[in-house]
Protein backbone atom coordinates (compact mmCIF):
# COMPACT_ATOMS: atom_id res chain seq x y z
CA UNK A 1 0.00 0.00 0.00
CA UNK A 2 2.81 2.40 0.92
CA UNK A 3 4.23 2.55 -2.62
CA UNK A 4 0.83 3.14 -4.17
CA UNK A 5 0.46 6.47 -5.89
CA UNK A 6 -3.07 7.20 -7.14
CA UNK A 7 -3.48 8.23 -10.75
CA UNK A 8 -5.28 11.55 -10.80
CA UNK A 9 -6.58 13.54 -13.74
CA UNK A 10 -6.92 17.28 -13.20
CA UNK A 11 -8.95 19.56 -15.46
CA UNK A 12 -8.54 23.27 -14.75
CA UNK A 13 -10.11 26.30 -16.32
CA UNK A 14 -7.59 28.61 -17.97
CA UNK A 15 -9.58 31.70 -17.03
CA UNK A 16 -9.17 31.20 -13.30
CA UNK A 17 -6.19 28.91 -12.80
CA UNK A 18 -2.56 29.56 -13.71
CA UNK A 19 -3.06 32.18 -16.40
CA UNK A 20 -0.09 34.20 -15.16
CA UNK A 21 2.18 31.15 -15.39
CA UNK A 22 3.28 29.16 -18.44
CA UNK A 23 1.58 25.86 -19.14
CA UNK A 24 5.00 24.23 -19.62
CA UNK A 25 6.10 25.21 -16.13
CA UNK A 26 2.89 23.95 -14.54
CA UNK A 27 2.74 20.77 -16.63
CA UNK A 28 6.11 19.75 -15.18
CA UNK A 29 4.57 19.75 -11.72
CA UNK A 30 1.19 18.16 -12.47
CA UNK A 31 0.76 14.73 -14.01
CA UNK A 32 -2.29 14.17 -16.25
CA UNK A 33 -3.17 17.85 -16.25
CA UNK A 34 -5.69 19.10 -18.79
CA UNK A 35 -5.99 22.90 -18.89
CA UNK A 36 -9.28 23.77 -20.57
CA UNK A 37 -11.35 26.78 -21.43
CA UNK A 38 -14.25 26.63 -18.96
CA UNK A 39 -14.92 23.83 -16.48
CA UNK A 40 -18.38 23.56 -18.05
CA UNK A 41 -16.63 22.03 -21.04
CA UNK A 42 -15.83 18.88 -19.04
CA UNK A 43 -18.52 16.50 -20.22
CA UNK A 44 -19.70 13.50 -18.21
CA UNK A 45 -18.14 11.30 -20.86
CA UNK A 46 -14.71 12.89 -20.30
CA UNK A 47 -14.95 12.11 -16.60
CA UNK A 48 -16.20 8.56 -17.14
CA UNK A 49 -13.54 8.00 -19.81
CA UNK A 50 -10.85 9.03 -17.32
CA UNK A 51 -12.09 6.36 -14.91
CA UNK A 52 -12.44 3.88 -17.76
CA UNK A 53 -8.80 4.46 -18.65
CA UNK A 54 -7.63 3.79 -15.14
CA UNK A 55 -7.84 7.09 -13.23
CA UNK A 56 -8.27 6.71 -9.48
CA UNK A 57 -9.62 10.23 -9.16
CA UNK A 58 -10.68 13.27 -11.16
CA UNK A 59 -10.27 16.85 -9.95
CA UNK A 60 -11.99 19.73 -11.73
CA UNK A 61 -10.92 23.30 -10.99
CA UNK A 62 -13.35 25.98 -12.12
CA UNK A 63 -13.77 29.69 -11.54
CA UNK A 64 -15.41 31.16 -8.45
CA UNK A 65 -19.19 31.23 -8.33
CA UNK A 66 -20.44 34.16 -10.45
CA UNK A 67 -17.03 34.61 -12.15
CA UNK A 68 -17.52 32.35 -15.15
CA UNK A 69 -16.41 33.91 -18.41
CA UNK A 70 -19.37 32.18 -20.07
CA UNK A 71 -21.86 33.10 -17.38
CA UNK A 72 -22.48 29.75 -15.70
CA UNK A 73 -20.15 27.03 -17.02
CA UNK A 74 -18.75 26.47 -13.53
CA UNK A 75 -22.26 26.02 -12.16
CA UNK A 76 -23.02 23.54 -14.96
CA UNK A 77 -19.92 21.58 -14.00
CA UNK A 78 -20.96 21.58 -10.36
CA UNK A 79 -24.41 20.14 -11.11
CA UNK A 80 -22.84 17.52 -13.35
CA UNK A 81 -20.41 16.48 -10.63
CA UNK A 82 -23.17 16.16 -8.04
CA UNK A 83 -25.22 14.00 -10.40
CA UNK A 84 -22.18 11.93 -11.38
CA UNK A 85 -21.40 11.21 -7.72
CA UNK A 86 -24.59 9.20 -7.58
CA UNK A 87 -23.84 7.42 -10.85
CA UNK A 88 -20.28 6.56 -9.81
CA UNK A 89 -21.54 5.10 -6.53
CA UNK A 90 -23.77 2.73 -8.54
CA UNK A 91 -20.65 1.51 -10.31
CA UNK A 92 -18.96 0.97 -6.95
CA UNK A 93 -16.68 4.00 -7.37
CA UNK A 94 -16.59 6.18 -4.24
CA UNK A 95 -17.86 9.73 -4.79
CA UNK A 96 -14.71 11.18 -3.15
CA UNK A 97 -12.89 10.20 -6.30
CA UNK A 98 -14.55 13.02 -8.22
CA UNK A 99 -14.13 16.53 -6.86
CA UNK A 100 -14.78 20.04 -8.07
CA UNK A 101 -13.30 23.19 -6.59
CA UNK A 102 -14.44 26.64 -7.64
CA UNK A 103 -11.86 29.27 -6.83
CA UNK A 104 -9.20 31.47 -8.41
CA UNK A 105 -5.43 31.08 -8.56
CA UNK A 106 -3.74 33.22 -11.25
CA UNK A 107 -0.26 31.80 -10.58
CA UNK A 108 -1.56 28.23 -10.54
CA UNK A 109 0.65 27.34 -7.59
CA UNK A 110 -2.28 25.85 -5.75
CA UNK A 111 -2.97 23.31 -8.52
CA UNK A 112 -0.14 20.88 -7.64
CA UNK A 113 -1.01 21.34 -3.99
CA UNK A 114 -4.71 20.50 -4.50
CA UNK A 115 -3.77 17.49 -6.63
CA UNK A 116 -1.45 16.31 -3.88
CA UNK A 117 -4.10 16.74 -1.19
CA UNK A 118 -6.67 14.81 -3.20
CA UNK A 119 -4.11 12.18 -4.05
CA UNK A 120 -3.34 11.67 -0.35
CA UNK A 121 -7.04 11.23 0.43
CA UNK A 122 -7.50 8.77 -2.42
CA UNK A 123 -4.41 6.78 -1.45
CA UNK A 124 -6.39 5.76 1.62
CA UNK A 125 -9.15 4.33 -0.59
CA UNK A 126 -6.71 2.41 -2.76
CA UNK A 127 -7.06 1.93 -6.52
CA UNK A 128 -10.47 1.83 -8.22
CA UNK A 129 -11.56 -1.79 -8.35
CA UNK A 130 -11.61 -3.55 -11.67
CA UNK A 131 -14.60 -4.81 -13.57
CA UNK A 132 -14.44 -8.32 -15.12
CA UNK A 133 -13.09 -8.36 -18.65
CA UNK A 134 -15.43 -9.55 -21.39
CA UNK A 135 -14.67 -12.79 -23.18
CA UNK A 136 -12.46 -12.48 -26.26
CA UNK A 137 -14.32 -11.92 -29.52
CA UNK A 138 -13.85 -14.68 -32.08
CA UNK A 139 -12.74 -13.87 -35.58
CA UNK A 140 -15.24 -13.20 -38.33
CA UNK A 141 -15.43 -16.04 -40.85
Amino acid sequence: MSSYEPKLVCFSCKFGWGYLNTEEALAKQIKNWVPIICSGKVDSSHILTAFRQGADGVLILGCRGGDCHYQDGNYEAKKRVYLLHKVLESYGIESERLRIELSIDPEGNKIPQLVKEMSDRIAKLGPVKKVGEPAKAVAVV
Binding site: D43, L83, V87, A135, V141
Partner: protein
Protein backbone atom coordinates in the same frame (compact mmCIF):
# COMPACT_ATOMS: atom_id res chain seq x y z
CA UNK B 1 -34.13 -25.82 -51.08
CA UNK B 2 -30.42 -26.24 -51.54
CA UNK B 3 -30.08 -22.84 -53.22
CA UNK B 4 -32.06 -20.83 -50.77
CA UNK B 5 -29.98 -18.74 -48.36
CA UNK B 6 -29.77 -20.35 -44.94
CA UNK B 7 -30.95 -18.19 -42.05
CA UNK B 8 -30.76 -18.88 -38.31
CA UNK B 9 -32.75 -17.08 -35.62
CA UNK B 10 -31.63 -17.61 -32.07
CA UNK B 11 -32.14 -16.27 -28.56
CA UNK B 12 -29.52 -16.07 -25.88
CA UNK B 13 -30.19 -14.07 -22.67
CA UNK B 14 -33.49 -12.59 -23.86
CA UNK B 15 -37.12 -12.63 -22.88
CA UNK B 16 -38.68 -13.99 -26.08
CA UNK B 17 -40.04 -10.56 -26.99
CA UNK B 18 -37.56 -10.29 -29.83
CA UNK B 19 -38.67 -13.63 -31.27
CA UNK B 20 -42.20 -12.34 -30.98
CA UNK B 21 -41.13 -9.25 -32.94
CA UNK B 22 -40.07 -11.53 -35.78
CA UNK B 23 -43.51 -13.14 -35.72
CA UNK B 24 -45.02 -9.63 -35.74
CA UNK B 25 -43.98 -9.09 -39.34
CA UNK B 26 -47.02 -11.28 -40.01
CA UNK B 27 -47.52 -12.54 -43.56
CA UNK B 28 -44.14 -11.13 -44.60
CA UNK B 29 -42.74 -13.93 -42.47
CA UNK B 30 -44.30 -16.44 -44.86
CA UNK B 31 -42.46 -14.78 -47.74
CA UNK B 32 -39.24 -14.89 -45.75
CA UNK B 33 -39.83 -18.56 -44.97
CA UNK B 34 -40.33 -19.13 -48.71
CA UNK B 35 -37.28 -17.24 -49.79
CA UNK B 36 -34.92 -18.71 -47.18
CA UNK B 37 -34.05 -21.98 -45.59
CA UNK B 38 -34.57 -21.51 -41.86
CA UNK B 39 -32.03 -23.74 -40.16
CA UNK B 40 -32.54 -22.75 -36.54
CA UNK B 41 -35.23 -20.99 -34.52
CA UNK B 42 -35.48 -22.54 -31.07
CA UNK B 43 -38.60 -20.61 -30.10
CA UNK B 44 -40.61 -21.75 -33.10
CA UNK B 45 -39.05 -24.78 -34.78
CA UNK B 46 -37.45 -27.98 -33.58
CA UNK B 47 -33.93 -27.94 -34.98
CA UNK B 48 -30.94 -29.22 -33.03
CA UNK B 49 -27.64 -27.50 -32.45
CA UNK B 50 -25.99 -30.68 -33.81
CA UNK B 51 -27.33 -29.73 -37.23
CA UNK B 52 -25.56 -26.41 -36.99
CA UNK B 53 -22.33 -28.00 -35.79
CA UNK B 54 -22.36 -30.34 -38.79
CA UNK B 55 -22.51 -27.41 -41.24
CA UNK B 56 -19.45 -25.99 -42.89
CA UNK B 57 -18.13 -22.59 -41.80
CA UNK B 58 -20.00 -19.69 -43.34
CA UNK B 59 -22.77 -21.94 -44.65
CA UNK B 60 -25.45 -19.84 -42.96
CA UNK B 61 -25.95 -16.55 -44.77
CA UNK B 62 -27.43 -14.70 -41.81
CA UNK B 63 -27.79 -15.37 -38.10
CA UNK B 64 -30.26 -13.14 -36.31
CA UNK B 65 -29.32 -13.27 -32.65
CA UNK B 66 -31.31 -11.70 -29.83
CA UNK B 67 -30.52 -11.61 -26.12
CA UNK B 68 -27.25 -10.99 -24.27
CA UNK B 69 -24.57 -13.35 -23.00
CA UNK B 70 -24.49 -14.16 -19.31
CA UNK B 71 -23.50 -17.81 -19.22
CA UNK B 72 -21.22 -20.31 -20.93
CA UNK B 73 -24.08 -21.90 -22.86
CA UNK B 74 -25.03 -18.60 -24.46
CA UNK B 75 -21.40 -17.90 -25.25
CA UNK B 76 -20.97 -21.29 -26.90
CA UNK B 77 -24.04 -20.85 -29.11
CA UNK B 78 -23.02 -17.31 -30.06
CA UNK B 79 -19.56 -18.54 -31.08
CA UNK B 80 -20.97 -21.51 -32.97
CA UNK B 81 -23.33 -19.29 -34.97
CA UNK B 82 -20.56 -16.80 -35.66
CA UNK B 83 -18.38 -19.55 -37.08
CA UNK B 84 -21.11 -20.92 -39.32
CA UNK B 85 -22.48 -17.56 -40.53
CA UNK B 86 -21.44 -15.03 -43.12
CA UNK B 87 -23.37 -12.29 -41.34
CA UNK B 88 -24.48 -11.81 -37.76
CA UNK B 89 -27.24 -9.36 -36.89
CA UNK B 90 -27.51 -8.32 -33.24
CA UNK B 91 -31.26 -8.08 -32.85
CA UNK B 92 -32.82 -6.04 -30.06
CA UNK B 93 -31.47 -3.99 -27.17
CA UNK B 94 -30.19 -7.03 -25.24
CA UNK B 95 -27.98 -8.23 -28.08
CA UNK B 96 -26.92 -4.70 -29.08
CA UNK B 97 -26.20 -3.21 -25.65
CA UNK B 98 -27.03 -5.79 -22.95
CA UNK B 99 -30.62 -4.58 -22.56
CA UNK B 100 -32.60 -4.37 -19.33
CA UNK B 101 -31.09 -7.62 -18.01
CA UNK B 102 -27.78 -5.77 -18.34
CA UNK B 103 -28.81 -3.67 -15.32
CA UNK B 104 -27.71 -6.72 -13.34
CA UNK B 105 -24.19 -5.37 -13.89
CA UNK B 106 -24.91 -2.93 -11.05
CA UNK B 107 -25.08 -6.00 -8.78
CA UNK B 108 -22.39 -8.59 -8.25
CA UNK B 109 -22.88 -12.23 -9.14
CA UNK B 110 -22.41 -13.05 -5.47
CA UNK B 111 -25.22 -10.71 -4.42
CA UNK B 112 -27.49 -12.18 -7.07
CA UNK B 113 -26.84 -15.74 -5.89
CA UNK B 114 -27.25 -14.83 -2.23
CA UNK B 115 -30.56 -13.18 -2.90
CA UNK B 116 -31.98 -15.84 -5.20
CA UNK B 117 -30.80 -18.90 -3.24
CA UNK B 118 -30.64 -17.59 0.33
CA UNK B 119 -32.13 -14.23 1.24
CA UNK B 120 -35.32 -13.73 -0.79
CA UNK B 121 -38.30 -14.17 1.55
CA UNK B 122 -39.75 -17.03 -0.50
CA UNK B 123 -36.58 -19.13 -0.47
CA UNK B 124 -36.45 -22.35 1.56
CA UNK B 125 -32.91 -23.68 1.33
CA UNK B 126 -31.96 -25.16 4.74
CA UNK B 127 -28.85 -26.87 3.39
CA UNK B 128 -27.67 -23.67 1.79
CA UNK B 129 -27.25 -25.24 -1.64
CA UNK B 130 -26.16 -23.10 -4.53
CA UNK B 131 -26.19 -24.30 -8.14
CA UNK B 132 -22.80 -25.54 -9.29
CA UNK B 133 -21.52 -25.93 -12.87
CA UNK B 134 -20.77 -29.57 -11.97
CA UNK B 135 -22.40 -31.86 -9.42
CA UNK B 136 -22.70 -35.61 -8.85
CA UNK B 137 -26.07 -37.26 -8.46
CA UNK B 138 -26.36 -41.06 -8.10
CA UNK B 139 -22.86 -41.50 -9.39
CA UNK B 140 -23.50 -39.39 -12.46
CA UNK B 141 -22.02 -36.04 -13.24
CA UNK B 142 -24.55 -33.31 -14.02
CA UNK B 143 -23.52 -30.02 -15.56
CA UNK B 144 -25.03 -26.56 -15.74
CA UNK B 145 -23.82 -23.60 -17.77
CA UNK B 146 -21.38 -21.39 -15.91
CA UNK B 147 -23.00 -18.13 -14.73
CA UNK B 148 -20.61 -15.27 -15.55
CA UNK B 149 -19.72 -12.30 -13.36
CA UNK B 150 -21.34 -9.93 -15.84
CA UNK B 151 -23.86 -9.57 -18.62
CA UNK B 152 -22.22 -9.01 -22.00
CA UNK B 153 -23.58 -7.49 -25.17
CA UNK B 154 -23.17 -9.75 -28.20
CA UNK B 155 -20.26 -7.77 -29.67
CA UNK B 156 -18.30 -8.25 -26.45
CA UNK B 157 -18.29 -11.99 -27.18
CA UNK B 158 -18.30 -12.30 -30.99
CA UNK B 159 -17.88 -9.96 -33.92
CA UNK B 160 -21.19 -8.49 -35.01
CA UNK B 161 -21.86 -7.24 -38.55
CA UNK B 162 -25.12 -5.32 -38.09
CA UNK B 163 -27.23 -3.95 -35.28
CA UNK B 164 -30.97 -3.59 -35.02
CA UNK B 165 -31.88 -2.00 -31.70
CA UNK B 166 -35.19 -1.73 -29.88
CA UNK B 167 -36.92 -3.57 -27.10
CA UNK B 168 -38.03 -5.20 -29.28
CA UNK B 169 -37.28 -3.79 -32.75
CA UNK B 170 -40.42 -2.55 -34.53
CA UNK B 171 -41.82 -4.64 -37.42
CA UNK B 172 -41.01 -2.11 -40.17
CA UNK B 173 -37.31 -2.11 -39.26
CA UNK B 174 -37.29 -5.90 -39.07
CA UNK B 175 -38.77 -6.05 -42.57
CA UNK B 176 -36.30 -3.47 -43.88
CA UNK B 177 -33.41 -5.44 -42.41
CA UNK B 178 -34.57 -8.76 -43.81
CA UNK B 179 -35.16 -7.36 -47.29
CA UNK B 180 -31.80 -5.57 -47.25
CA UNK B 181 -30.11 -8.93 -46.64
CA UNK B 182 -32.20 -10.82 -49.20
CA UNK B 183 -31.70 -8.14 -51.85
CA UNK B 184 -28.04 -7.66 -51.02
CA UNK B 185 -28.57 -3.95 -50.27
CA UNK B 186 -26.80 -3.76 -46.96
CA UNK B 187 -24.99 -0.65 -45.69
CA UNK B 188 -21.31 -0.94 -44.62
CA UNK B 189 -20.58 -3.53 -41.95
CA UNK B 190 -20.89 -2.26 -38.40
CA UNK B 191 -23.96 -0.19 -39.27
CA UNK B 192 -27.06 0.10 -37.19
CA UNK B 193 -30.12 -0.57 -39.34
CA UNK B 194 -32.11 2.37 -38.03
CA UNK B 195 -32.13 6.16 -38.55
CA UNK B 196 -28.98 7.90 -37.29
CA UNK B 197 -30.56 10.89 -35.57
CA UNK B 198 -31.94 11.29 -32.08
CA UNK B 199 -35.55 10.55 -31.25
CA UNK B 200 -36.27 14.21 -30.40
CA UNK B 201 -35.74 15.00 -34.10
CA UNK B 202 -38.87 13.12 -35.12
CA UNK B 203 -40.87 13.39 -31.90
CA UNK B 204 -44.14 15.26 -32.48
CA UNK B 205 -43.76 16.90 -29.05
CA UNK B 206 -40.45 18.51 -29.96
CA UNK B 207 -42.10 21.72 -31.17
CA UNK B 208 -43.48 22.30 -27.68
CA UNK B 209 -40.00 22.15 -26.14
CA UNK B 210 -38.92 25.62 -25.01
CA UNK B 211 -35.49 26.81 -26.16
CA UNK B 212 -34.27 26.70 -22.60
CA UNK B 213 -35.64 24.22 -20.08
CA UNK B 214 -35.14 25.03 -16.40
CA UNK B 215 -36.33 22.35 -14.02
CA UNK B 216 -36.96 23.04 -10.38
CA UNK B 217 -38.64 19.73 -9.79
CA UNK B 218 -38.45 16.28 -11.32
CA UNK B 219 -41.44 14.02 -11.42
CA UNK B 220 -41.88 10.40 -12.28
CA UNK B 221 -44.40 9.45 -14.91
CA UNK B 222 -46.71 7.63 -12.49
CA UNK B 223 -46.82 10.57 -10.10
CA UNK B 224 -48.46 12.98 -12.51
CA UNK B 225 -50.96 13.07 -15.26
CA UNK B 226 -48.65 13.97 -18.08
CA UNK B 227 -49.91 16.31 -20.74
CA UNK B 228 -50.24 14.11 -23.84
CA UNK B 229 -49.00 16.74 -26.28
CA UNK B 230 -46.11 18.57 -24.71
CA UNK B 231 -42.47 17.55 -24.33
CA UNK B 232 -41.92 15.34 -21.29
CA UNK B 233 -38.67 17.02 -20.32
CA UNK B 234 -40.35 20.41 -20.29
CA UNK B 235 -42.90 18.90 -17.89
CA UNK B 236 -40.09 17.77 -15.58
CA UNK B 237 -40.45 14.11 -16.54
CA UNK B 238 -37.21 12.43 -17.57
CA UNK B 239 -37.29 11.45 -21.24
CA UNK B 240 -34.19 10.01 -22.90
CA UNK B 241 -35.20 11.05 -26.44
CA UNK B 242 -32.40 13.59 -26.76
CA UNK B 243 -29.69 10.95 -26.27
CA UNK B 244 -31.41 8.01 -27.96
CA UNK B 245 -31.40 6.92 -31.58
CA UNK B 246 -34.71 7.35 -33.35
CA UNK B 247 -36.52 4.80 -35.47
CA UNK B 248 -38.80 3.26 -32.89
CA UNK B 249 -41.81 4.98 -34.38
CA UNK B 250 -42.36 6.91 -31.11
CA UNK B 251 -44.30 3.94 -29.78
CA UNK B 252 -43.81 4.95 -26.12
CA UNK B 253 -44.28 8.68 -26.70
CA UNK B 254 -47.59 8.03 -28.49
CA UNK B 255 -49.01 6.26 -25.46
CA UNK B 256 -47.81 9.05 -23.16
CA UNK B 257 -44.75 7.24 -21.84
CA UNK B 258 -41.36 8.98 -21.99
CA UNK B 259 -38.45 7.45 -23.91
CA UNK B 260 -36.39 4.99 -21.84
CA UNK B 261 -33.58 4.64 -24.36
CA UNK B 262 -34.02 1.17 -25.89
CA UNK B 263 -32.56 2.26 -29.26
CA UNK B 264 -29.24 3.09 -27.65
CA UNK B 265 -26.85 5.86 -28.65
CA UNK B 266 -26.95 7.86 -31.86
CA UNK B 267 -24.14 7.38 -34.41
CA UNK B 268 -20.77 8.46 -33.08
CA UNK B 269 -21.68 8.23 -29.38
CA UNK B 270 -20.38 5.41 -27.20
CA UNK B 271 -22.10 6.10 -23.91
CA UNK B 272 -25.60 7.51 -24.33
CA UNK B 273 -26.10 7.55 -20.55
CA UNK B 274 -23.21 9.97 -20.10
CA UNK B 275 -24.63 12.23 -22.79
CA UNK B 276 -28.00 12.26 -21.11
CA UNK B 277 -26.45 12.93 -17.71
CA UNK B 278 -24.73 16.04 -19.07
CA UNK B 279 -27.93 17.23 -20.69
CA UNK B 280 -29.92 16.54 -17.57
CA UNK B 281 -27.53 18.41 -15.30
CA UNK B 282 -27.71 21.42 -17.60
CA UNK B 283 -31.50 21.75 -17.44
CA UNK B 284 -31.64 21.66 -13.66
CA UNK B 285 -32.23 25.09 -12.29
CA UNK B 286 -31.69 26.18 -8.70
CA UNK B 287 -30.91 29.28 -6.66
CA UNK B 288 -28.19 27.69 -4.57
CA UNK B 289 -26.37 24.44 -3.84
CA UNK B 290 -28.99 23.24 -1.38
CA UNK B 291 -31.77 23.62 -3.88
CA UNK B 292 -29.69 22.02 -6.63
CA UNK B 293 -29.08 19.00 -4.43
CA UNK B 294 -32.75 18.79 -3.55
CA UNK B 295 -33.76 18.64 -7.21
CA UNK B 296 -31.11 16.06 -8.10
CA UNK B 297 -31.84 13.95 -5.01
CA UNK B 298 -35.36 13.51 -6.30
CA UNK B 299 -34.09 11.52 -9.27
CA UNK B 300 -34.55 7.95 -8.21
CA UNK B 301 -31.58 5.81 -9.28
CA UNK B 302 -30.10 8.11 -11.95
CA UNK B 303 -27.60 5.47 -13.07
CA UNK B 304 -30.31 2.88 -13.61
CA UNK B 305 -32.41 5.46 -15.42
CA UNK B 306 -29.70 6.52 -17.83
CA UNK B 307 -28.35 3.03 -18.49
CA UNK B 308 -31.62 1.10 -18.48
CA UNK B 309 -30.72 -0.69 -21.75
CA UNK B 310 -27.03 -0.02 -22.19
CA UNK B 311 -25.10 -0.63 -18.98
CA UNK B 312 -22.86 -3.46 -20.31
CA UNK B 313 -21.62 -1.27 -23.18
CA UNK B 314 -21.32 1.90 -21.07
CA UNK B 315 -17.85 3.35 -20.48
CA UNK B 316 -17.65 1.86 -17.00
CA UNK B 317 -19.58 -1.32 -17.85
CA UNK B 318 -20.56 -2.52 -14.39
CA UNK B 319 -20.07 -2.59 -10.68
CA UNK B 320 -16.59 -2.93 -9.33
CA UNK B 321 -16.26 -5.30 -6.42
Amino acid sequence: MADKPKVAICWLGGCGGCDEAVVDINEVLLRVANATDLVLWPVALDFKYDHIEAMSDGEIVLSIINGNVRNSDQEEIAKLLRKKSQLVLAFGACACFGGTPGLANFTTKEDIFNWVYRDAPTVVNPEGKYPQPKSRVNGKELTLPKFYEHVFALNQVINVDYYLPGCPPPPYLVMNAVSAVLEGKLPPKGSTLSPRRALCDTCPRNKTKPSRIALRDIKRIHEVEADPDSCFLAQGILCLGAATRGGCGESCISINIPCRGCFGPVDGVVDSGAKFLSALASIIDAEDDEEMKKVIDKIDDPAGYCYRFSLPVSLLRGKRS
